[in-house]
Each structure stands twice: as structure tokens, then as C-alpha cells.
Symmetry: C2
């Protein structure tokens, strides 16, 4: 376990208090990052239904998972045996029933139906691993509960990191800086994309001495050449081409804490349009990072970049970044703070953000980003790579 049990109990108590503050009697948590944050639980079991139910009044919890996973939950989570409930394998992947039909009955038998009777129970309506059938099974099995969207109430608890969490994120930053250096060294015309990704992935997982690598919530993304206008493409077996740009967006991960980093790399001479766009993007990121400090809102920070773009006749209609920390597939973003003009969140020390100046035009694009921590008076940049269009020699 990364953190001691007492730390997790304190986090659960904070979650319960936050839920009470919003008028909830209970919370149903499915997001694996939230489960990990609250309990330490860490296994690739989220492809089956699993939830942590929190009593907002008493901060008591019950973790419901597949029997084979529940049995080993104590290996990563600080939960006591009586706080873990395994549903039978016979309920899995069935047309006529669902694990949470069973779970609802079991919750009732243990008195949980009554605990929240007539009260509002927060669900994670945006969570990826709380399926419609999971929701409907609980709703129909526990009609005493009034289910309502909790609007990421648990995720919001995670936005300000402890110093211990920051220390893990610094490790993640070192890993990704090294992985980016490995990538840049290898980028050359003729190198098959998948071989480049294999080398990146090795660096991500091997980590560095004293900083072991963990799996990233998102695989390396590698928009290349004309496909540089499409941000979330992965890779092919095609060789890299001279005169093109390859954008590399990857994260370093240390014990589930993420530090993402993106750079565009030019192979030989690239068109002037791209050169110009890259320059504006990099300098825009410089200005933006200088503007970050406690007391400013995420929206005010976004305005700095938006103004910069306007001054150069450009525009951007996607976010400039988002809150980061613990991540599980499919996203390393926390889903809370967005750096965009309309976000009113006031920045505070030890918030951590991935600031990504991605410009996806038509038929080309470029990306440059940093993972940062908000300090008492500015930013600490957790990642380290030349903040400009990186150039690799061509053969011509």
C-alpha cells in the first residue's frame, strides 16, 4: 500500500463529510481512481461491476466486487474483511440477472437499504465503469434510495494533493521526461511507428533507479504527418517519414500517479506553416505557465492563451488542460478542473495540472505540454523536455 490505512480512513471521512454537505445520505463510488484514492484498492478488476458504498453519516463503507477479486482485496486495500462483499461468479455476464441484483439483496439483508431510506444517494453518472445495468439493478433493487448524480463529488476531493502525493508525481515526471528523451533519440525517417512505441513503453514501465514505472491510463498517442490533425490516434506499422511531424503524447506513472507530457518532433525540414504554428504554440505555453498562480481562476489562465492565439490570428476551441493525479484507463484526467475560459475554479497550491497546448488544424497539427504543480506563487514544472518543436535531422 502506498499510504497508511489511517490516511485512507481520513480520506473516507472527508468523502462522507462532503456528501453530507451536499445533502446526500450515501455515495456509490465506481471510478477506479476514486476507489484507489479512498481505499488503496488497486487491481485490474474494474471490467466487472464493483462499487464502494459509503454511509455519509457514519463513514462506514462496504466494497462490493466479484468474488475472486473481493477475496484478494486486502492485498491492496486497507478494508477490513467485514467491509468487503464478493458477488457469486454465477451472476457474471448473464442475460437474466446482474451482480448488482444480488448486491442489492445483500445490502438489504445487512441493513443498508434502511440506512439511506428516503435519502438521496450520490452516484457517479459520468463514471466509465458504472454501467447502465449496474445503475438500473441498484435502482430497482433499492427503491427506498433516491439516486441522484453526485457530480464527481469524490473526484473533487482529489484536486489538492498532499506533499506525499506531490513527491510521487515528481517521480512520474522524471519517468516521462526520460521516456520522451528515449522517443526523441529514436525518431528518424524509416523507423516503424510500433517499434518507437515499444521503446517508449519499455521506458515508461522500467522507470528510473528508485522510481518504478506503473501502467499509464492512456497508451502512447502518436498522431503523425497528415493525421496530426487528429489528437487521439494511436499508431500503425508505417515508417516515420522525412518532412513530417510526429506528435508524442505520453505519461510517466509512479504508483498510479500520472505526469503526462506531449511534444511534436520534426523529421528533417517541415513546411513553414508547421514551423510557425509550433513556435506560436510553444511561446503561448510559456506565457500561460507564467500566468498560473494561486488565486487566479482556470478561466483566467485560459484567457491568456486564447488572447495570445488571437494576436497571431489563431483560435482554439478545445481545452488547454485539466487536473491530473491518480489515473486508471481510459483517462488520466481527473474530470474536474478544465483550463478553458468558462471554468471558474480558483487555483490553489498543490493543485496539479496537465497544460497541453494542442493545435489540431486541418491536415497538420502540433502539441506541446507540461505537467505542473501550482506553488505558493507560481508553478513547479514536473516534466522536462525542450519546450519547442524538437528537430531530428533528415537524410536530405
Amino acid at each position: 500500500m502506498t499510504f497508511p490505512p489511517a490516511e485512507h480512513r481520513a480520506r473516507i471521512a472527508r468523502a462522507a463529510a462532503a456528501a453530507r454537505g451536499e445533502g446526500f445520505a450515501g455515495v456509490v463510488v465506481a471510478d477506479p481512481a476514486n476507489l484507489h484514492y479512498l481505499t488503496g484498492y488497486n487491481a485490474w478488476s474494474f471490467y466487472m461491476p464493483q462499487v464502494l458504498v459509503i454511509d455519509a453519516t457514519t463513514a462506514e463503507v462496504l466494497f462490493v466486487a466479484r468474488e475472486m477479486d473481493a477475496k484478494g482485496a486486502h492485498r491492496t486495500a486497507m478494508l477490513e474483511p467485514h467491509e468487503v462483499l464478493g458477488y457469486p461468479e454465477s451472476t457474471v455476464h448473464r442475460r437474466d440477472t446482474h451482480p448488482f441484483v444480488w448486491a442489492a439483496q445483500e445490502l438489504r439483508a445487512r441493513g443498508w437499504a434502511e440506512r439511506f431510506a428516503g435519502g438521496r444517494v450520490a452516484i457517479e453518472g459520468d463514471a466509465d465503469f458504472f454501467s447502465v445495468r449496474s445503475y438500473l439493478s441498484l435502482r430497482d433493487g433499492l427503491p427506498e434510495w433516491e439516486f441522484a448524480d453526485g457530480h464527481r463529488i469524490i473526484s473533487w476531493l482529489r484536486v489538492i494533493k498532499s506533499d506525499a502525493e506531490i513527491s510521487l508525481m515528481r517521480g512520474a515526471g522524471r519517468i516521462v521526461s526520460n521516456a520522451m528523451a528515449v522517443a526523441v533519440d529514436m525518431i528518424a525517417a524509416g523507423v516503424p511507428q510500433h517499434e518507437l512505441v515499444a521503446a517508449i513503453w519499455h521506458a515508461q514501465i522500467a522507470g528510473l533507479p528508485g522510481v518504478d514505472g506503473d501502467y499509464p491510463a492512456i497508451v502512447p498517442m502518436l498522431p503523425t504527418g497528415g493525421a496530426g490533425d487528429t489528437p487521439h490516434l494511436t499508431w500503425t506499422a508505417s515508417p516515420l517519414v522525412e518532412g513530417e511531424i510526429v506528435s508524442v503524447e505520453i505519461a510517466g506513472v509512479h504508483r498510479r500517479y500520472h505526469a503526462p507530457l506531449a511534444r511534436s518532433v520534426a523529421i528533417g525540414d517541415v513546411p513553414r506553416d508547421l514551423d510557425r504554428l509550433s513556435g506560436i504554440t510553444s511561446e503561448g505555453l510559456d506565457c500561460t505557465l507564467e500566468a498560473i498562480r494561486p488565486g487566479r481562476t482556470a478561466g483566467e489562465v485560459a484567457d491568456v492563451y486564447w488572447s495570445w492565439l488571437r494576436r497571431h490570428g489563431l483560435e482554439k476551441n478545445s481545452r488547454l488542460g485539466y487536473s491530473i493525479g491518480v489515473g486508471y484507463p481510459p483517462d488520466w484526467g481527473e474530470g474536474t478542473i478544465s483550463i478553458r475560459p468558462e471554468d471558474p475554479t480558483v487555483l490553489q497550491p498543490n493543485m496539479t495540472l496537465h497544460v497541453i497546448a494542442g493545435m489540431w488544424m486541418s491536415g497538420y497539427g502540433c502539441e506541446v505540454s507540461e505537467s505542473i504543480r501550482v506553488t505558493d506563487d507560481g508553478v513547479e514544472v514536473l516534466t522536462d523536455a525542450p519546450r519547442e518543436l524538437i528537430r531530428r535531422p533528415g537524410s536530405r
Copy 2:
């Protein structure tokens, strides 16, 4: 694109026909594997809401995705521009609205509300990336539609593979066999777990000459020593220990097609209990594979292994395997056929299965598996590794 547009049109036509057969007017598809199967679409964009809407009567489709992803959909999907609809960035990660509130209005404006008015529309109630808010936004925005669970109607279309798909899966089998050999070579007392995983991952992505690797839907799982009783643990930075077993469960992936493979590896001398368990498990897998042929049910195949275990005083209450093919995180299983006593599915040629004899006891466990194709009269094993407890020398 792996398959020609005409192949995808034929698959969509089959999907529409299947939906009509079940009395559905339309289908809403969110599972990334189903999206890829139907259209070729392939990007790491499923962490944002996205669905393909199919008209069961006409086989017309509309793909709704985030604007920045919709713009580049043509790079991997065979969809025409008029079949793609991008929702504005301003609807993303908002408390007061949702991308599918916008999508429902847009569907209405394009006449889709009326198309299915009074009809049943199939949703994927088990899909990971069709969130409760996605569902509620469509339900509330399109009250003319009667939403009903489609019970994996699209996934079931995928269980019998074409010869071209089988050829991709053979490639995946070669990749994972090589990755397992790399792992076995490296396993020794003192090797940090994450360094072993880094080497495995490199082999998975680099692939083999002529067979490029793609990302697996599940990261390498590495239950080790006492934690061998817990199937879905990933890894730590701890060194491997002499006298213990490490179980390696990984997949080879070629152009999104998966072939998983699991083996347990003993470092030096391991306790007799483990030796005995491994022997029974491996021989049980032999018997089971011999029992697979067209016309048998998945349940009858499971019975062979269950009987074998009973004869040796053991039992298993989890599945012995499942259907495989295209996969995206978090699961490489198709969620259709389960090899367990109560599954009535009749096996047919070109069904592909991961048959995994995993025995998770208390404080120890072992795993041995193969990816197989059902042939006209038996099985073709797609994976290749010694089918027994693999032994690595200890230093004692």
C-alpha cells in the same frame, strides 16, 4: 483500415437485420470493440461519450463523437462525412449539461427522433463507455424512443470469425508466444517485477517481423507468491523470490485482435502443493481442449474440466474461458460465450476462445491457458508455450 468499406457495410447490414429480428427499431452502440468491428473506427477517444446509432430498418448510421475526434474519424472509419456528427467542446465535463443533451437535439433535427418513435431502441446496458448520464441524456431528450437492453446483440455478431480475422488472430498468437518466451527467459530470483513487465510490454508492441504489435486491452497481470490467489493484480517493484511461483497472463494483439496466454513459472523448488496443483491444472487443460469440437456446447466442455477437478478432489467456481477477438480496454473478452457448466452456446467452426484453467486457492494459485480456434473437428491452438508448470533454476 484493416478491412475494406464493403466488409463494414455488410457487418452493419447484419447488425441491422439482427436488431430487426429482435424487434428493435434502432440500436445505440458504444462498446469500442463493436464500433471498430462495424466501422473500423480506432482511436483512444472512448473516454468521452461516443455512440453509433443504427437504423434497423434501413441500416443507415450516424456516429456521434467529440468534435475533435469526429473530424478525424475518416482516418480509421469507413464512414462518410454525413454519417459523422461532432458535439461541441463546450458540452464536455459540464455539470449543467452533457454532450448527449446536444446530440439528442441534433438527432431530432435530423429526423432520427421520428424514425424510432414508438419503437424499441437497443442499448448496451453492460458497456463500459455508455455512462449513466449518457443514457439518461438520450432517454430524456428522445422520449419517443423506448430504450431497452439489447443484451450484447452486436457483440454476438462477432463470435464466429472470418478467415481474414483468424489470420490476424494467428499473428496475435505468434506475438504472445514470443512475449511469453521473453518473460520466461527473464524470470529469476531478484528480478524486479516492473522490469520484467517492461520487457514483456516491449515484446508485445514490437511484435515480430511482419506482425506488428498493438496495445492489449489488459495490462500484463502478474500475481506472485502468496498473491497468486488473486487473479487481477498487476505488479510492484518487488523482486521475484526463489521458491515462489509467478503467474504471467498477457495477450498478443495484432490490429486490435487478441490472443491471450497464461503460464505459471516456478523459481527454484516450490512447495509440493503447488507442484501437484499445477500438474492437475495442465492435464485438465489437455483434456478440455481435446473435448472441444463443433456441436458441443460450452457447458459440456466445462463439464469435462469440472469432472477432472472433482476426480482430484478440487473444485472451481469461476469460468474456464470466454470468447475473444477484437478488444479494447478494459477487457479482451467479448462478453458473450462463457465456458461454464450453465452456458448452452453450441460451438461452431471459427469461434475463438481463451481457455484459461486458473486455480486461485488461498495463499497460492496457478494459471495455464491457450487461445484456440474451433475447427471443423477439433481445435487449432493459436498460442505456443510448454503446457506445464515452467521451471526456472533457483540459486540453491
